[in-house]
Structures are given as C-alpha cells and as structure tokens.
Symmetry: C2
Subunit: 854 residues, 2 copies
C-alpha cells in the first residue's frame, strides 16, 4: 500500500480491516447500509506507525470543523485508547461553534477541549482543571455564561502556566499533537501487557480515525446507548439509557441519572424520569431500525451508541449487545432462526463452558458478594445452606428439610452419603480431580475444593477465614462452585434454565458433531441423569462405587480380610448377587447404547474401616480378634496408594474378584437377552502397564464367558478393552492393542504419572504454579497437549497400526473440557466420556471441533 | 550339507559345532591336540532330526565293538540327555568282552546293558532290575560269578516278560533303537522347558555321538574327574576324585567313597583312602598334562572326566572346572596372565554381579541353611547378629560390642542411626528401592527386604515365621543379603576378599571402559568409600540426608514450621552454616573429580516428627502450642508423597531453601579456591516436569552465585543440570536441555511414574508378577528397556538435538545393574552413578559394554 492510500475516508474502508483496523471497517459497514455515522478520515496501521516514529503526516488534509480522534485497533477485542473529543475549538473557531450550539454550550465544549488536550497531550493533572470547575460552581449553583467565560480563561491560563506556552490556536497542530499522544498511549508497557492478556501480539497494529464531532448538547439533544435484547436472558427487549444535553462520553460517567429507553423498562425499574420513548418517540423508532440493521450487517445483536440531535440520530458506534453467558445462547439461536447467521455460526459462537450457567442455579451476577474464602471452582453452580462438618450431620439436616453445606478437609468414599444429602460441598484441601470434586461433578453439586485460606478445626467445630472471622455449624453460607468462592449468607440467585433456545442449540450441535459423547456414570441414577442430557452411552462405570453402600461394604470387607478360601468364596457370592443386580439395572437403563464397565480399580485398603470403633465392629462381625483385623489392615497399608497394588494388579494377583465381576456382567447380559436391544457390554481393564496383564485377564474373562454361555445356553457378545492410564501403557500401546477391541484413555491418572503429580496433593501449589506460568493451565483441568498429549498421540498411532479397527475414547475429567475435546477430535477419537452434568458442554464442544476441523 | 556328510568321525568335526553340536566339536578339538579321547561317529543335527521323524539312517555303518551314545547339543549350556553305555553287548559278543575284562566284569557290563536298554528304550521300571540285583546280594555279600550269571539270566527274563520279546541280539538294532530313544527323550515337553529356561530356542538342535566304550573295570583301572584350580578360590590346586574298578558313570553316583587326587588334598580332608597320586602316580601325571592342554585349547580351566586303564588314561569329557563366583575372577586373571586368553576375554568372562561375592562376607556355599524367611536380596553380603527391633536397641548393642540385626516393618529416615549401628537389616515390607534397601546398599550392609512370609508384631516384640516359629529380641540370626534369606543361627561364613586378582581385573577393566562410573554418595564417609573403590566422581549427593542428624533436624523443623519470615531466616541461617561445612568437606574429599549435588528433594513433611511425644518436644522448643504444630504437620500431610509437593516444586514455591543450598555450595567452593584443584560443582534440580521450573530455579541460583562472587571476589565456576525423572521431563527434554549443561536420569522415579508403580509398595506383588511373567524382571532392579528405556532414548535424542554438548548420566539404582549399564553405553551416556559398594560392578560392566560395542 502506497503512502497515498494510508489515509482514506472512513466510509471507504469497509473491506480493509486489515489496514485500518476493526472499528473503522465496522463504521464503514454501518455507513454502507445507510446508518448516519459521522464521517471522517481513517488512518492506516502504516500511518500510525509513522506517527509513532515521530514523522508528521504531510498528506493529512487540513482540519475542517470540530473533530474527535478514535482508535481502530487490529482486533476489536484488544481494546483501544479512549477517544479525544472537541478538537479544533480555538478562540478563532469558537464563534462558529456558538452559532451552532449557543454561547454556553460552545464555551463548555471549549473548556473541555482545553482540559482534555492538556491532560492527554501534555500529561497535565486533570484535577487541576476540575478544581477550576468546582471553584466556579462555588460561586453559583449552575454555571452561568460569565462563569463559563471565567472557566475558559482560567483553563487557558492554567494550560499556559503548566505547559510553558499558549494553548495552540491552530486546529491542525491540535490534531497532529493529539494523534501523537494517542499513539504514545497505545505503546506504553501497561497498555501492551493488558492487550496481550486479551490475546494481542506483542506488536499490535493500530489504526486511527479523525471523525466529525456530533454535539448532543442542548435541551432537545442528548446521547445514549440502546440494545434490543435482554442482558440477562437474551430475549427480545428494548433497553438503553439516554442523557439529554450531553456529549457521548457523558452518558457513561454516571454523574447524572440517565433516562431509560422505554415505558416498560422505566416502570420495571420504578423510575419516574421520562423514558426516551416518551421524550423522543421518533428518535427511538430511528434507533430501533438502526440497531436492527446493525445487528444484521454485523451478524450479532448490537448495542448502539448514539447522539440525538433534534429529530435526527447519529450513530457513534455499535458494539456487541451486553449479555450474560446464558443470554448468549438465546441470542445466537434467535439470530440463526432469523437467518442473520447460520446454525453453524450459532453453534460456534457459544463458549461451551458457559453452558454451565444454564445448567445450574447461579449467584446472580449483580448480587453483592462477601467472600469468606477462595478455592478451585470444582463443580459449577451455587447453593445456599447451613454449615455441617460431618456426613451424618448432612443426613440429619436433609431429613429435617434443611439445606446443608458439607465442609471437610477433603472427602473420602465414606463421605458419599453425606454428599448425597448436602446441597454443596466445600473442602479446604484437594485439587480439580480430588474425590470431592469428581463426586460433586457427578452429582451436579456445587463444589469448591482446596480453599486453603480457610482454616478448619474439626475438634472445635470451627471454620476460620483468613480475616479471622469464625464460622460454626449451622451458620448460613453460599458455595459458588462456578467462581470457586465460599460466600457469607444468602446472596440473590438465578435459577437453572434449559430453555427452548438451549435445547434447540444442542439439537443443532448433535447434527454437526461426529464424535460420540458418553458419560462417566456409576449408578442407575447417574445413568438416568446422563440419558436426560442426551448422552450416547456410558464411557466409564467405576464398579467400586457400587461397593460403598452399607450392606455391600461389609461383604467387600469380609472378602478382603477372609483368611480361608471358603469364607472368601462366601463373601464373593454375596457380592456377585449384588453386582448382577447393579449391572442388570444399569444395562437396562442404557438399553441400545454402549456401556463400558471398568473392573475394580482402587487398592483394597480403600474399602477397609479406619476408626478403631469400625474395626472393632468388623472384627465382631467376622468373628476375628481385633488385633488380627488391625494387623491385616496394616498389612495392606500403602505409602503411595495411587502407585500401589490397584487396578489390574489386584486382578492379576487375586483373580477371583475380576472373575466375580465378569460373571455378574455376563449373567446380567443373559438376564436381558429377551429385551429388544440386548446389551453388548464393554469390559475395561484398568491401570495396565504390561501386555501380559491384558492376556492374563482376558483369558480369565473369556473363560467365565464360556462358562456362563454353557450354563445359560445364551450366545451373548461382549468386548474387552484397556484403560490407557500409565505412560508405559501408552508406550506399549501397539502390543496391547492386539489383545483388545477398544482403548479408553484415563487421562486423570495419565496426567498424574506423566507429571509425577498427585491430583489430590497438587491443589496445595497448583495456583502458585499457574500464577508463575510454570503450568499454563491446571493439567488436570485441560489436557496438557505437549506432554500427556504426545503420549496419547503416540499410543493412538501405535494402536491403530497394530489394530486398525480399535475404538478409541477418553474417560478422564478432560472429557468435559472443550480444549481437550478438540484435541480428541484431532486425534481421531470415537468418543469422549465425562461427568453427566458436563454432557451438554461436551456435545457442544464436539460439534465445534467437527466444524473447526472441516 | 548332503546326507553323506551327516555322519562323520568325531575327530573330524572340530570346526563344525554348528552341525554336530558343541560337545562333539569339543571332543574333536581335544583329539586334535593328541588327547586320548575314545573316537567314534558324530551324527549331525540333520541326522538327529531324521531319527526324530522315524527314519532309519541307512548310511550308518555297522556297529563294531561296544559303544556308548552321548548327546551333543547345539550349545553346551543347554544340557543334554544322559549317556547310554554298554551297547553292543549280546550273548554273541559277550565272549569277546570276557577276553578283555574277565568274566565277572563282562557279565556285570552285560547286566547293566540289559537294564539301561530296557529302561531307556522301553520305559521299564529300573527298580525291577535293581530288585533282581539286591535279591542276588542277599544270597552272598559280594556278587559271585554264579550270582552274576543268575542276574544276567533273570534280567533277560524280566526284559522278555515286560517287553514281550527277547533282548535284541543284534548290536545294530540296539544302537538304532537307543538313538531313537535318546532323540525322544530330548523332545519331551519337560526337557524342552528345562532347556528353554537355560536359554535354548524352542526347536533346539541336537547332535549325537556313537563312541567306543572304555571300561575302567578291574582293580588296576577306574574312572574319575580332575581339575587344577581350587573350587573356592580359583588358585592353582589339584583336586579330583577317583573310583577304582568303575565305569565313568559310577564315579558320580556316590555309592562308593571316591579316592581324592593328591596327598595334600587327602590330608586336608582327613581321608585315609590312598590318593590317586599314591595309587597311579604316572596316571596322575598324564592327567595333569591333559588338563593343562585341555585348558589351553578350550580357553578355560577344565575339569577332566577320565577313565584310567592300566598305565593309560582316556579322556571322556572336559567341562569347565567347578568354581565359585569368587574363584571365577582368579581363574580368568590367571588364564590371561598365562596368555591362554586375552585380558579382554578375562574382563568379558566375569559376570559383574558376581563381584559382590568378593566385596562382602558371604554365607559359605557349603554351609547348611535353616531358612526362617525369604525376601528380596536388597543388599549383598551376609552377617550374623542378635535381633533388635528398634534403632535405639541397635545403638545400645553396638555400644556393648554386640553385632545387631535391625528388624523393622520398613525403615524411615529416623532409622538411619540404627542402621549405622547394625550389621544387617531385615524388613518385612518394601521393594528393591525401598528406603532400607537403598540405605543398606549405600552403607554396604547386608539387607533383605519384603520378607513377607515373616510376621512382625512390634507391640509384642515378636517375629513369627511361616512355620509358626517365634523369635524375640536377642535371638541370633543371619541375614544373607545375597540370597535374600533370613537364616537361623550362625552358619559358616567366607570373608570378603578383594585379592590381587580382583584388583588386577579391575585395572584392566578401567583401561577398557569409556563410560565414567560415579557414586551416589551423600556424606564424606560415603565419598571415602567410593574413592576407595576408584570412582570417577559423585553422580548424586542427596542433600536431604544431611538434614537427619540430631542437631540439624531441629533447625530443619524450625524452618519448615516457622510462622514468620524472621524465624524462618534464623533457621535457614543455621542450616546454611551446616550445609557449607558439609559441602566443603565433601568437595575436598572428592578433589579433582566432578560432584553432582541435588537440591532438596523430599516433601517437607518427611522431616517432621510423627509421634505425639516428639511433636510435644518440638512445640516446646519452638515455643508454639502443641495444637499449632500438629495442625501444621497435618496441613503438610500428603496422600501420595511420591507425587506430591517435593523436589523443584518445593524449590519454586519456597525459593529460600534452594537459595540457602546454592549459597552453601558456592561458599564452600570459595573456601576451597586455594586448593590445587578447586571444585566446579554440578547443581542438579530434581523432579522437573516443565521447562519453566528450570528457568525459575536457574535464575535464582545464578543470582546467588553473582552475590557470592561479588562479596568474595572469587570468580568460581559451576554447572546447572536437571534430574530427568518424570515422563514429562523426558518428553520435554529438548526444551529443558537448552537451559542446562547436564541431565542425570533418575530412573528410580522415572520407572515408578512410567509404570504407575511405587517402589515402596511394589514389593508386595513383585514376586508374583515376575513369576507370572508379567514383568520379565523387577523393573526397579534392571531398567525396563521397552518402556522406561524408550523414554530415556527419546529424551537423549531430543536433548542432544537442542544442546549437542549436554552431558548425560544416570543416577538411579540401575546405575549398578550390568544390563542397564550396557543400555547406557548404547545410549551414549557419559557416566552412570551407583551405590559406592556397587562401583566395582559398574566399572566392570562399563568395560564389558565398551568391549561389546566395539
């Protein structure tokens, strides 16, 4: 581009955002459809750079009239530098302005022009100018013409004193100096850092505009903003604010109470000031048409910034209409239905994570918050209730109809009943994939974990904030699991709302996505939740969660501590009955869909009692001496349970447990053979690190299947697959793939082992690590593409080479994270599996991944 | 090879081991140098296969005289099928035999021939034949000629009854049938499995020999075996056994007491039977010459199996002389010095792991063992002492001059003093790299860990064996850390002996190796041990071990629990003084050699007291309420300490600790600047998983260096490197390598994380896993080439690409494992680092790796 084109009329640059910036191009588009945007000159990125180097732009036409300078950055999201208004006013041009606005307004514009020029170009203190203004106000309540004349004189004197020369009478010089000041402001380190945080590159391009001033001064005039969608819901609704006798900037300063847009809006707000509709009905009509037109041409609901002069309107800017996350869905769907955007665009426009706002009650975005403590936003949504410190107290509260918030150091399997009874959970320890976080997400309970600025003393029954405030059982608090905050009292809430627009959007997303979305569901209840969220199957049923209910844990413990084959067989027989029933119900609930059942995973000691009292009870029940039970429990103790005897290691060394589980699954399948769509269960082996483990377990499971087929006479089908969750499992994926029909990547454990980082212990320093930039993000939240991701890709390519038909999925917590889902789509996965409550998010993210990889 | 060559005179096949098997070729070589080996025919692998397929070998010459069949497997190590003697004896050929041996001996040979043919060819019960023999013995004390005639008649009758036809009178038929029987015996599943355990392929080739019988029957004749090196020490020494009036096989049956070889040997054994030297001085002379000649041509000390007839000898076989591992060294060195083999061959011939026998006292290989319990052979050598159950009791025993054996569930850092005072350690839990195992190897203490068949009850002070035997404190036991056994009482021991031959071999090895061998040494004492073992430097100084001594642990605890910056700084200042002194001593001890110092690695809670009493003491010392100390200790608790806040994670989040350590190192370096060879320390950052961790720590360490340089005026040098021990560290090696000058692979942790397997918890099922073939070997013992090894290779290639000058080493326990050392050589490592007591093993293994990769 030659220098000749570096300055253009704004109206000509609609297609040149790449040279003149997003805002100039946008204004040009609005002009092109006939909206009354004040015209002027657009300066290209190149011209701006020359200004930055100190050149003066010789090709810049002489300034005519009164102008405003505005920035037009390369991308709208980066934000710009505030506009400079009222340039071109001098002692010479003042009479022309007087003719237009009257003497008082003209003087006020002049005074403002001197101040803003002094402050922005020469760095003078705005307070000094404001003091002159307030000095005059002391003399008379409203500024008189004489007062304004004094003020202009004083301002010019202040300027002269501080700058060392007179206020420039030459409009061209004003503009040149102001352009330079704006470029300088764009280049400060602070502005640079703020921009980069919004995604701008280090050298972000900037365009500038020299625009004709439109003065909304005078009683019949004014300035304001208007949008035609409701900020909270996204529904059609005209809202706005209008300030008579004002420049555009005044409308946002809050010094005067603005008028609202319509009678409806005014009455809803209980305001008596007349609405814009009542003051300027024709103006409002024009504004509505303009907003509709802008929305169409800019493909999104707009908020119009305007100046009203007499019966006419002037459009200063059109920015995306203000909206909550929830409103975003409604707006996008409505735009697509109106044909303004395509359905694909509507689907791409929604940040999947923001769907959570629709799925759960939330603290009202406008409510006042008193933050007691901050932790990790482990499970979204908000709930208010009274503090309880034990699962028993949570159950007691529930039975009395009191909502309870369970507060613990962290939770363990024994707390599950308490969690079921609570409305929210708060822990002072633990990370995004700690027990509390995982279970809460599964239950759809708001949850904050790792709130390490709170001090919990269970002995005293006290929770102490960093500020020293003490809370006790029964105190009312609110858990905001979306923000990761514990709040005092009961702030205003918004309710969950899976509206028509939500459903419509999800249906479109399902049509567009190619990757399956399954749920991690352990119980029939979980499975029902998942079905309601239109899931494609179960990707992970953690069978151990079935063993924690009252009657079952006893049999489990007897099995673990049995000291004879007979007593072990007895206990296993009882567990077999329970598991068969579990699987029959689960498979029936999920009829017609795939269900992946993971064989027992945790180390056996997780099932044993911890307190002396419980141990004594168990010893009595088992007719064993207490010391014997304690010694055996102690024998099973592990230093690093995560890296201990669990998963397939239990299966290999105590094969009867997996055999029992396989039998329960197959007998359930036999029981369901008469149904319309008999199930084909997918049996998954956890924690594999060596091929031989798969061979050994597969042999045994196949033998059980033969046995059940022979005794039942039913020729059912099943699949055997492997959970890839150790780095070695990933490295040896080629060998392992030859022995199974599917892989599911357990990216929770794979992340733990790849980093050498326990998810339960990482919470303590994860925030420090993310703040210091050691990790760009919590790797338990969003898949670490560079490290864990490399292992996943390596495993998938080796697995496909060895077994081209292998089915690939992911069932870690990452299955509900949009960035991780995009990664899975690129890796060519067949499905992702996530917590039931994240299914809609994953469905949307999967659709976006499909659209983006088209 | 045509069928024509498939049968050759044995004497012709010296260079055809690949067709006729190792034994036939060996016998041919002995014949070639003129040794009197009975000649005969060698049948090729091909001929043997044809026999196996049921073909009869038409080209086989007619049998002449009396023959023996012997196998000649593809490799000597596989073992063969027992020989079949005395073939060709029939009623027709008996007279010829009588002429040779006299009637009685001839009848005896016939009887033996019938029996062995019946048993081996037709599967008759040998007991039936033996009963006939004992029936005759009942009639007269020694068998008379008539008795023998009866016995032959009865044997022929038994044969006829059982087989259903007469004993074959045709020698050719005997040989054909016997050949078939031997091939069949070679092919049984049991024989196949036993062979494969010795490294044979599934289809292992076999040759056969039809050899002229040499009968050592008659009073002037006999059979025996002789070797000219001492079995226990490898020194020159003539030892052997001789049985007059015997066939070769009889010499090994133990039915009669054999005569020994020399007067010296006889007298040493207190035996009155005349020695071979006294009975057949000329025969012994011939045998000595023959053994020397065989040793030379077969390049190893031999044990000659011979038959003596009149003044002549016949060599039946020459097999490697019997020897203990310790004797192997002496024999190889002596052979090299005698020019029989090269020094390289001598170095290659020693199994490095067997050096341990020379480095430590051992249970005498011939002693009787009463095994109390079995565990993992965690640290080699053996020691006898009385049982103690606490570190305090070990110290008390030491002060009274009593050797003590410390018996624990497992050890923790607090047991270190007790381990120093004990002569051996036994734990009932833990794996090859558990705390007890690692420390014991470092101290050179015999140690058995994970002896899970023992039951320890510390409350009752009782150790119970699987057999129910109970041991208490004070009982004498012996720990055999080489075999992994706890033994009752005090069996006979052999003493450590790093003889001249040992030293000589190690010197040769050092000349041949290109890879450095460093030691993992934490203290000056460790460093001195390592220097005595001729180490090349320290590859890993674990600074945390410096903090467990009495006065230091207090300051460490104060630092950890400090609740103000001042008190933390006070504690750090005390620790700085101690560390500076530690490093000064260590660096001085290792003058002229590289020393790698790892910054603090364990999680801080490892330093805190556990018992309530200790916590109370600490609280008093720190002037804090007990609850406060308990609460803070509880705050630091971790579920999976191995994957917790440790290593660089502590360094990043509490930078003052690493700063203190860096300062201590640099100030030590400054203090040693006047020495001849001022040290250049290598500072190593542990547990890195992200590049940014290295940047952050490097910045801080560099800043401390600048500060110390400025204040001291000394321009010292240092290196900064990274311990690669997380899978992610290995994957991101390219980025990380740009920020450091060396990598040391911490393969203990890398193995833990790659497998998702805690070394402390793996002991419980490792044996099952190895037995089931899930793991071919304990991956904590020998590096898992397929999984962990792939990560190491991937990291080295990425690191070298990013930083071609990077120095690469390994400092896990694998640094002392020969197979892992070979892997390191192939990967192009600069050094390995291991426990001080494994340094000689590593030096030898490194030399072998160099020789093998030439």
């Amino acid at each position: 581009m030659g220098q000749g084109q570096s300055i253009q009329p704004i109206s000509k640059v609609a297609d040149q955002a790449g040279q003149f910036g997003a805002r100039a191009a946008k204004l040009a588009m609005l002009m092109r459809i006939g909206l009354p945007v004040p015209n002027g000159l657009a300066l290209s990125f190149d011209a701006t750079q020359r200004i930055g180097r100190g050149e003066s732009l010789s090709e810049l036409p002489k300034t005519s009239g009164f102008v405003a300078l505005r920035t037009s950055p390369g991308e709208a999201a980066w934000g710009g530098v505030p506009a400079m208004l009222n340039l071109g006013v001098t002692s010479q041009t003042l009479p022309g302005l007087e003719a237009k606005l009257g003497r008082k307004s003209a003087l006020d514009v002049f005074r403002r022009g001197i101040m803003s020029y002094g402050v922005r170009v020469h760095g003078l203190d705005p307070e000094d100018f404001e003091n002159l203004y307030y000095d005059q106000l002391k003399l008379s309540k409203t500024l008189t013409e004489t007062g304004l004349e004094e003020l202009v004189k004083d301002s010019l004197a202040l300027y002269h004193d501080e700058v060392g020369e007179a206020f420039p009478e030459n409009p061209d010089k004003q503009v040149q100096m102001a352009l330079r000041a704006m470029v300088k402001a764009w280049s400060t380190p602070t502005a640079r850092i703020l921009r980069m945080a919004k995604g701008a590159p280090e050298e972000a391009p900037l365009g500038l505009m020299i625009q004709k001033m439109v003065f909304g001064l005078g009683p019949e005039n004014g300035a304001g903003a208007l949008q035609m969608v409701d900020e909270g819901t996204g529904a059609s609704s005209i809202t706005g604010r209008f300030l008579p006798d004002a420049l555009g900037q005044d409308a946002t300063t809050g010094l005067r109470t603005p008028h609202l847009a319509t009678v409806i809006e005014r009455e809803a707000a209980g305001q008596t000031l007349p609405s814009l509709e009542e003051m300027h009905p024709d103006g409002l009509s024009l504004l509505k048409s303009a907003t509709t037109a802008a929305t169409k041409v800019l493909s999104d609901a707009q908020r119009l910034e305007f100046t009203l002069i007499g019966p006419n309107i002037h459009v200063l800017d059109a920015i995306p209409a203000r909206r909550t996350s929830r409103a975003t869905v409604r707006i996008a769907v409505d735009l697509a239905k109106a044909g303004v955007i395509s359905r694909e665009d509507a689907v791409l426009r929604i940040e999947p994570g923001h769907l959570a706002e629709s799925l759960h009650p939330q603290v009202d975005p406008y409510a006042t918050r008193t933050v007691l403590g901050t932790g990790l936003a482990a499970s979204p949504g908000a709930a208010t209730g009274k503090i309880v410190f034990t699962p028993e107290a949570a159950q007691a509260a529930q039975s009395q109809g009191d909502p309870a918030i369970l507060v613990r150091f962290e939770t363990s399997p024994e707390d599950i009943r308490g969690m079921h009874s609570a409305v929210a959970v708060l822990t002072v320890r633990g990370g995004m994939t700690s027990h509390a976080a995982v279970i809460a997400r599964g239950l759809g309970l708001p949850c904050v974990v790792g709130a390490s600025d709170l001090r919990l003393d269970l002995r005293k029954g006290m929770l102490t904030t960093a500020a020293g405030e003490t809370l006790v059982a029964g105190d009312i608090i609110t858990i905001d699991g979306t923000a990761g905050q514990a709040l005092a009292g009961a702030p205003k809430m918004t309710q969950a709302e899976m509206t028509g627009a939500f459903t419509e959007l999800m249906n479109w997303a399902d049509e567009m996505r190619s990757m399956g979305v399954r749920a991690n569901a352990d119980t029939t209840q979980d499975a029902e939740v998942a079905r309601n969220f239109k899931v494609d199957g179960i990707g992970l049923c953690r069978t151990e969660h079935m063993f924690f209910q009252d009657d079952r844990i006893d049999s489990m413990r007897e099995m673990i501590l049995a000291n004879s084959t007979e007593s072990r067989q007895d206990a296993l027989a009882k567990l077999l009955d329970m598991q068969r029933k579990d699987f029959t119900e689960l498979l029936r609930t999920m009829a017609g869909m795939p269900v992946t059942i993971r064989l027992l995973d945790p180390p056996l000691h997780e099932f044993l009692p911890h307190s002396e009292e419980e141990i004594a009870t168990l010893a009595t029940a088992m007719n064993l001496p207490v010391e014997e039970v304690m010694a055996r429990a102690e024998d099973l103790h592990e230093f690093n349970p995560m890296l201990g005897k669990r998963g397939v290691r239990v299966g290999v060394t105590m094969p009867e447990i997996y055999e029992m589980q396989a039998r329960a699954i197959f007998e359930a399948v036999v029981a369901l053979q008469a149904e319309a769509d008999p199930p084909v269960p997918e049996i998954m082996i956890p924690l594999v690190s060596a091929t031989r483990e798969v061979e050994l377990i597969k042999d045994r499971v196949d033998a059980v299947a033969r046995d059940v087929r022979a005794s039942s006479g039913v020729a059912f089908a099943y699949d055997i697959g492997v959970m890839i969750e150790t780095p070695r499992g990933a490295l040896r994926a080629g060998d392992i793939a030859r022995h199974c029909t599917f892989f599911s990547f357990g990216t929770n454990d794979l992340t733990q082992m790849t980093y050498g980082l326990s998810r339960d212990d990482a919470g303590r320093f994860m925030r420090d690590y993310v703040n210091l930039g050691v990790f760009t993000e919590d790797p338990f939240h969003s898949l670490d593409i560079e490290g864990v991701g490399e292992l996943v890709l390596l495993a998938t390519s080796r697995a496909r080479e060895a077994n081209p038909d292998i089915k690939l999925g992911l069932c870690g917590e990452h299955g509900g994270d949009p960035a991780s889902i995009r990664f899975c789509k690129i890796a060519g996965f067949d499905y992702v599996s996530c917590s039931p409550f994240r299914v809609p998010i994953a469905r949307l993210a999967a659709a976006q991944a499909s659209l983006l990889s088209r």
